[in-house]
């Protein structure tokens, strides 16, 4: 059994009366690429900050690489790469100076890797950070995050604000890094297409509660869209267990079902559906159905 590198047990955080994260239990094994999904304000960044020991939990505990989040030692921090939201960099420096600054603190800093990453992104180390475009900043931030050769990489919405071309390039860099054995990546994102491309496990957090934590394939197998055609004029009440969303178009309903299996199709036939057809939906569609309120019937 592979080693658990990220663990959260009952992690809870209140901001005043508001519960930002509620009893979150999570374990991520070494070598996993974990996509942490959720809508804005669902508690992704709060969870990440608690895991990194930058925010105290109200209850529960988190651990990275076996070390309690509240007491992460400098040695453990050096093994964890962290890219925070918005790719913040020290704007008063040049790219090379920024790298020199960080190199002082990371014993495993790989200068040749960093130089090759800059060359790949066509960035001159003499350029000032303040003059970089948003995409270039993201690339520099990623290169700086990966140069210390971290065992665990935590990316907080890494593709935020990037155009599709830069995003794709950015993701390819991440994919390249994944290929190195033993690396674990935990990243939060809104862009489900990206998650689908790189993640092998996902967690969905909604209003601070982790509602799903499973393999990507398992999620897609369990949450399915089904199209049902009923007789003209017939629109039965579809009160099914695990029903996430229904969209009606005349006598045709498109349902999103959690805990999907073949038996669910028979249930629908039992409700009078003449035709029942499971559909292939992307992660983005399933995520929206999974996290949007049930009242989304149209």
């Amino acid at each position: 059994m592979s080693e658990i590198v990220i663990q959260a047990e009952g992690l809870t955080r209140y901001f005043g009366q508001k519960k930002a994260v509620d009893s979150l239990n999570l374990s991520v094994r070494r070598g996993t690429v974990y996509g942490f999904l959720g809508r804005n304000g669902s508690g992704k960044t709060t969870t990440i900050r608690m895991l990194l020991g930058m925010l105290h939990s109200t209850r529960g505990r988190g651990a990275l690489l076996g070390c309690d989040s509240e007491d992460l030692t400098p040695e453990v921090r050096a093994r964890v790469g962290y890219l925070s939201e918005g790719h913040p960099l020290f704007t008063g420096m040049r790219i090379g100076e920024h790298a020199d600054f960080l190199r002082n603190y990371y014993p495993k800093w790989d200068r040749s890797w960093f130089d090759s990453a800059l060359a790949r992104f066509r960035l001159d180390p003499k350029r000032r950070i303040g003059t970089l475009s948003r995409g270039e900043r993201a690339q520099v931030a990623l290169a700086l995050c990966l140069a210390p050769q971290p065992e665990l990489l935590i990316l907080d919405d890494p593709a935020m604000g990037l155009d599709p071309v830069v995003r794709r390039d950015f993701l390819e860099s991440i994919v390249e890094m994944i290929q190195q054995e033993g690396r674990t990546i935990f990243f939060s994102s809104h862009i489900l297409g990206d998650v689908e491309r790189v993640a092998d496990r996902i967690g969905i957090i909604e209003e601070g509660v982790l509602r799903a934590d499973c393999g990507l394939d398992t999620f897609k197998a369990n949450v399915r869209r089904v199209r049902c055609r009923f007789r003209d004029g017939q629109r039965p009440e579809l009160a099914l267990p695990g029903l996430l969303r229904v969209r009606w178009l005349e006598n045709e309903a498109t349902l999103t079902l959690a805990s999907y299996n073949e038996g669910r199709l028979d249930e629908l036939r039992g409700l009078g559906a003449e035709e029942v057809e499971p559909l292939d939906a992307g992660l983005e569609d399933l995520f929206i159905d999974y996290t949007a309120p049930l009242s989304g019937s149209e």
Binding site: M54, L55, N104, Y105
Partner: protein, 247 residues
């Protein structure tokens, strides 16, 4: 520690220049009021009275210059401390700093050292001006010893104290209406203590003959007591901040 100090200086260089210009301008105003003209601008702003007080302990010494120095030091110290913390927050670079693999206490120490260095850089011309002023014949009523400069060091040291308090206050992840301001409150007695002690020890020798009845002695003792009372608060604030990586 040096890379962080260098980074702080680099990040705050433009603000430092602004602070430097403001300090020089106000000092120019004060100096003009003492009879000095550097830029000529103060003519419109300040009265031309010399403000010499023949009855004070510092007979002959201009209180205008001393008062201006005190105010500028406080403002600059506060601005540098707040700038260091809020610039980091505004640029969202604090998470990267907090994640650096170094002990938190070392990072805070480096930031504080950088802040004090910036404070020193900004205050240096002021200090030189004050020393030059003190050396002007007729300003100081008696021979000038090294100790004489102590009384003029007061505002600068007090400013440094205020810097520490402002830095800790800005750094605390608390709310202003809750406990964020505690270090600032604790700094008040420390500020008074530094001011009074330097004023006391900087007195001309003949004032020491009446030491027991000298009001500065009682000022010193009172502010020492207040500082000792607030010491636990300061230590608590420092300890608390050294332990957390919250931002």
């Amino acid at each position: 520690m040096w890379p962080i100090i260098k980074k702080e200086l680099r990040e705050n260089a433009s603000y430092l220049l602004g602070a430097f210009a403001i300090a020089l301008f106000f000092l120019d105003c004060a100096a003009f009021d003492c009879g000095w003209i550097l830029l000529g601008i103060p003519r419109l702003l300040m009265s031309q009275s010399t403000r010499l007080d023949p009855y004070s302990a510092n007979a002959g010494f201009d209180h205008q210059l001393s008062g201006t120095c005190s105010s500028i030091c406080l403002v600059l110290a506060g601005a540098i401390a707040l700038g260091q913390v809020y610039q980091e927050r505004r640029r969202r670079t604090w998470p990267s700093m907090a994640h650096l693999p170094i002990p938190r206490s070392r990072m805070i120490c480096a930031k504080v050292l950088a802040g004090l260095l910036m404070y020193l850089i900004v205050c240096l011309p002021m200090a030189l001006l004050v020393i030059a002023r003190l050396n002007t014949p007729g300003v100081w009523p008696g021979p000038i010893y090294a100790r004489t400069f102590l009384s003029m060091l007061g505002p600068f040291l007090a400013g440094a104290m205020f810097y520490l308090a402002a830095f800790l206050s800005a750094f605390r992840s608390a709310r202003w209406y809750a406990t964020k301001w505690l270090p600032l409150i604790a700094a008040l007695p420390a500020y008074l203590l530094v001011g009074n002690v330097t004023a006391f020890f900087g007195q001309p020798l003949y004032y020491w003959q009446r030491l027991a009845t000298h009001y500065l002695l009682y000022n010193c003792l009172a502010s020492l007591a207040a500082a000792l009372l607030s010491l636990p608060l300061v230590l608590w604030a420092i300890r608390e901040q050294a332990r957390t990586r919250e931002y």
